[in-house]
Amino acid sequence: MMNTLRQHAEQLFAHELDELQKADTRQRPTNWNLSPWAVATYLLGGRLDNGFEVSAKYIGNRRVIEIAVATLVTDRALLLYGVPGTAKSWVSEHLAAAISGDSTRLVQGTAGTSEEQMRYGWNYALLLSKGPSKEALVPSPLMKAMSDGRIARVEELTRIPADVQDTLITILSEKTLPIPELSSEAQANRGFNVIATANNRDKGVNELSSALKRRFNTVVLPVPATEAEEIAIVTKRVGEMGKALELPSEPPALKEVRRIVQVFRELRDGQTADGKTKLKQPTGTMSTAEAISVLNSGIALAAHFGDGTLRAGDVAAGLVGAIIKDPVQDVVVWKEYLETVVKERDDWKDLYRACREVI
């Protein structure tokens, strides 16, 4: 058990879910483990009446989570949308864990996702020996969720081929899944719903049909709103991951975290933190997740090849790699940023020199 590299949300936070369930006296929709209010509290953190402290799973705008939960209450499906690295899958996992106590009814969307994975497959041995029957049917996670009245998750919806995506239309509007082979159908029980995630950078890969779009409520997960918020997220995650990877280095100095976060924010927003200078934006997404990985690789470098203290030189290579995704456009963007912004800042001289060396 302890050797599991990553535990499911409902295992990791079983204790919190338990406490919430005990304290939660509000009305629960059918087949929900918690009331909508308690689900929001589970994600956003807070103190219960009995003094129990629920940790925050999502640091950011409270309203986003409220809208997501309210959507699931209205039995409309929820589509979490946003640039890569904005915690879409994270939120989806925790919502499913809080509402259904189980986040494993999951369909991973890929270019190769087939209709069987969305609907049902067959146990061919049984099918051949006994013919089509309920026993020979292998239900998909979606179908299981329908009969259990639970939440199902579809990851990376837009990666799924369009014809397979459309399987969802009947499920979402009629709340039923026809099984023509058995002349029957599987009807969804109350409490069933779908949380899908998609990233808007891959727009046009397999754009949702408007029929399907209409069946989803779309919630865009924003990039962190303030610098302080983002620094908090990055520091927290870098600390957690460093422990997991058993890096011998010191935890990163807040100064370095702040600088990296600032670089990412400024390039992402297309202007400097003081709002005085506009900047070109690189083609990459500059997500918080990437900032975290830049710091992590910097720490690894410092630990294994340096003296264990994170310095500008250790992050420079990772930084340039994270920013320059397009060898022509991004180089111009990065050079302009270096020459007009980084160079001007007195206490950033080391970063400037380190970055100049890398490109």
């Binding site: 809208i67 209205t74 409309r76 949308y81 209409r214 409520n217 900047l279």
Partner: protein
């Protein structure tokens, strides 16, 4: 008996409750928080042609910069109270501190308001009221994020009919806020507030003395506690004694919802005038019906803009907003819930359509109207004053005006005309004659006054009270909305012509911002030379040169970085255009004479000069500029030349290279000895075979030169390597003595030599 009604300015819920309360009370006198001077024009409020939003405009005729606006929308409680009184012939009085004092106090050093927190010309009186802090405190105490949401929920969007209870509750809430939380105001604002409230009390006492029995007092909720307890009349009178005074005139001006919204920097504005108007008009509807009606409005707008929005969308959005309201434990969905559900259901989570909804519905685009017989606005007066002092009469007949800009009066006239042009009042049109790009001291205008300008002036008065203020504000606004560099540099030019020193900084800043994100390097290059001129020659009158310098720093750095990319894969036409830009930029950078610019620019040119990266013309030009600046010595240049013109290259690019290198002119070869030597040495070094092959290229380039230049070049070549003076003597022409004698007589006459 005095009845106090604390309201929020422009709150529809307040207005509704107020009317109901007034009907119950049927007062014999109504006192409203407003400037007493405006009572003279108050009758216009029930004029058939007036259409809110409108604003009462109080200004000082001697100094039109001093002015205050008191805007009203249809749903403003004060507006409803005024109309209530006027239509029932109940005396309506304004009780705020007279603007005669208020405007005068702005000049007092002890009372001067920090210009930075004076939100343009908007009215300070309103800005200080209950907006901001007090509401936020109450809202936060009630567990809301901000005061706005809380107040909307509790007052503006509520539907029950107990108006007396509402006003009592407001009074109680404000009393406790004022008692509990010391408001942190700068001393001058505090002093002003004391004066205003003293004057309100004084007016109330006067009304009581006049024998009115049922006095209704309508004022900002914040002031209610101060009016509920009356200190002695003497204290107030002492406070109000000896205040400075200025002359004040009042009139009505049309207003817009955009200006009413806080977004435009108007202190006591409301965030959502359009939504408030909707609430006002749908006061009878059920809360759930109300949100459906609003979402349907949104749906219609979406369809007009070709965004998919079906009835199913409306239904789902309404359901979600109800669910959200329930989750947040609110009785009905408010604007926040509705907006969020619209974003989630209709807009696919995107923000752009919401911005449209915000601009068109939530704020709204309504423009008010005032009756034609209201007195003129200060902008008009300022214009008339200037027309008199500059002796420029508005005439309907087109007429030409030649201005000599060295003359002070003419210069001011030019400024005025340019400013009016910026404001969209096309009184004059510059005729091109007598004016080159660099600007001579003559400017020829065609003047024609159109009657429609009167309307344009009234519209422009929202930008400011004087021509120069209004033009400045408008230019800044335009700069913030401009989307292309050429448009912005044109604006910089117009701002300079109109002599608006305060607009220069924001406009150049906008230019800088746009330059930063401009992907097109040629635009950057084009922006450098005019700015360099301004920087070097101080064309910007009274402008901080360092400001332009800073913009230039950024422009040059960016141009240098992106120069290489911009010069890749050019066709002949594009290369010719680029050549001009590079030459202009090169001259500009030399003009500025900043070492760090050159340190960026020369390496950029060196990269260009590398063969194969770009069009031959540009490549040759870069090599030449490097040679001229002595960044590269003659040997390096000779190497470049022989590389570019070697046999392996296609003839066309090679010829273009030579053309670029020689700047398309042979004159330089005649006068620049180094260049001549280098070219000559290269040519002489060719072996016979190469020479014969290269000959067509060289011929092609030289054939572009004028005949006389070719003759001179040939002559110089004969004297191989001779210096420049030798060249001039080397030009030998056969003179025909007899014919040369003939014109001499006439020439003598012309020059007056024999008289």
């Amino acid at each position: 008996m005095t009845h106090l009604f604390g309201i929020r300015h422009h709150g529809p819920g307040c207005a509704r409750s107020l009317i109901r309360a007034l009907e119950d009370l049927s007062p014999d006198c109504i006192l409203i928080e407003g400037p007493p001077e405006a009572e003279a024009v108050l009758a216009s409020a029930i004029h058939a042609e007036i259409e809110p939003p409108v604003a009462l405009l109080l200004y000082c005729p001697d100094d039109t910069k001093k002015a205050s606006f008191y805007p009203f929308a249809e749903f403003s409680p004060e507006w409803q109270a005024i109309r209530f009184g006027l239509t029932r012939s109940v005396p309506v009085r304004f009780m705020d501190l007279p603007q005669a004092h208020d405007l005068a106090l702005r000049d007092e050093p002890s009372m001067a308001v920090d210009p930075s927190d004076r939100t343009d010309q908007s009215d300070q009186a309103e800005a200080d009221d209950i907006s901001g802090d007090p509401l936020d405190w109450l809202g936060r105490a009630a567990g809301y994020g901000d005061g706005e949401t809380w107040w909307n929920q509790m007052v503006e969007e509520r539907r029950d009919a107990d108006s007396a209870g509402l006003f009592a509750a407001i009074q109680e809430a404000m009393t406790s806020v004022r008692a509990e939380i010391p408001r942190k105001l700068p001393p001058q604002s505090q002093q002003r507030e004391a004066l205003r409230e003293a004057h309100m009390r004084k007016t109330i006492r006067q009304a009581e003395k006049d024998g009115f029995q049922k006095i209704a007092v309508v004022c900002g909720a914040w002031h209610v506690p101060a009016l509920a307890t009356m200190p002695s009349a003497k204290a107030d009178n002492d406070l109000l004694k000896g205040l400075p005074k200025v002359k004040v005139a009042a009139t009505w001006a049309p207003w817009t919802y955009g200006r009413l919204a806080a977004a435009s920097g108007y202190g006591a504005g409301v965030l959502s005038p359009g939504w408030y108007e909707f609430l006002w008009k749908n006061q009878a509807a059920e809360a759930s019906q109300r949100s459906i009606a609003w979402i349907s409005k949104v749906a219609r707008l979406m369809r007009e803009e070709d965004i998919d929005c079906s009835s199913a969308h409306v239904i789902e959005a309404a359901r979600l907003s109800d669910a959200l309201a329930a989750m947040r434990e609110r009785p009905a969905a408010g604007l926040d819930e509705i907006n969020e559900s619209i974003r989630t259901v209709i807009c696919m989570g995107e923000d752009a359509p919401l911005k449209l909804i915000r601009a068109r519905l939530i704020v709204g685009e309504k423009l008010g109207r005032v009756p034609p017989d209201v007195p003129t606005v200060p902008l008009q007066q300022d214009l008339e004053k200037q027309q008199r002092s500059l002796r420029l009469k508005p005439e309907a007949l087109a007429k030409e005006l030649d201005l000599d800009l060295r003359n002070e009066n003419d210069l001011s006239r030019s400024h005025l005309l340019h400013r009016l042009k910026l404001l969209g009042i096309q009184w004059g049109e510059v005729r091109g004659t007598g004016r080159s790009a660099k600007g001579t001291f003559h400017e020829v205008w065609q003047l024609q006054w159109q009657p429609e300008f009167a309307v344009a002036i009234i519209e422009a008065c929202r930008w400011g009270h004087t021509i120069s203020d209004a033009a400045t504000a408008l230019a800044i606004d335009q700069a913030q909305q401009a989307e292309s560099l050429p448009a912005l540099s044109a604006l910089v030019d117009r701002v300079l012509l109109a002599h608006l020193p305060h607009a220069v900084e924001p406009v150049t800043r906008a230019l800088e911002n746009l330059a930063a994100i401009a992907g097109d390097a040629s635009q950057l290059l084009e922006a450098i030379p005019p700015l360099a001129n301004i920087f070097r020659y101080g064309n910007v009158r009274q402008t901080d040169a360092s400001l332009v310098g800073h913009v230039l720093d950024g422009l040059v750095t960016r141009a240098c970085i992106s120069l290489g990319g911009a010069c890749a894969s050019l066709d002949d036409d594009a290369a010719a255009a680029m050549r001009k830009r590079i030459i202009a930029t090169h001259q500009a950078i030399k003009l500025i004479g900043n070492e760090s610019h050159l340190a960026d620019w020369m390496p950029a040119l060196t990269r260009l000069a590398m063969l194969g990266g770009t069009h031959g013309l540009v490549c040759g030009l870069a090599a030449r500029l490097l040679f001229d600046e002595k960044t590269e010595d003659a040997d390096a240049t000779a190497t470049r030349m022989s590389q570019a013109l070697s046999i392996g290259n296609d003839p066309a690019p090679a010829a273009a290279w030579l053309e670029g290198f020689l700047h398309q002119s042979g004159m330089v070869l005649l006068h620049d000895d180094r260049l001549w030597q280098t070219l000559d040495a290269w040519l002489a070094s060719l072996i016979d075979e190469s020479f014969i092959r290269i000959l067509p290229l060289v011929r092609r380039t030289f054939s572009l030169f004028p005949g006389t230049e070719r003759t001179q070049l040939g002559a110089r070549a004969k004297h191989s390597g001779a210096a420049s003076p030798a060249v001039q003597t080397a030009v030998t022409v056969e003179w025909n003595e007899a014919r040369a004698q003939k014109p001499l007589a006439v020439l003598e006459k012309i020059l007056g030599l024999n008289s």
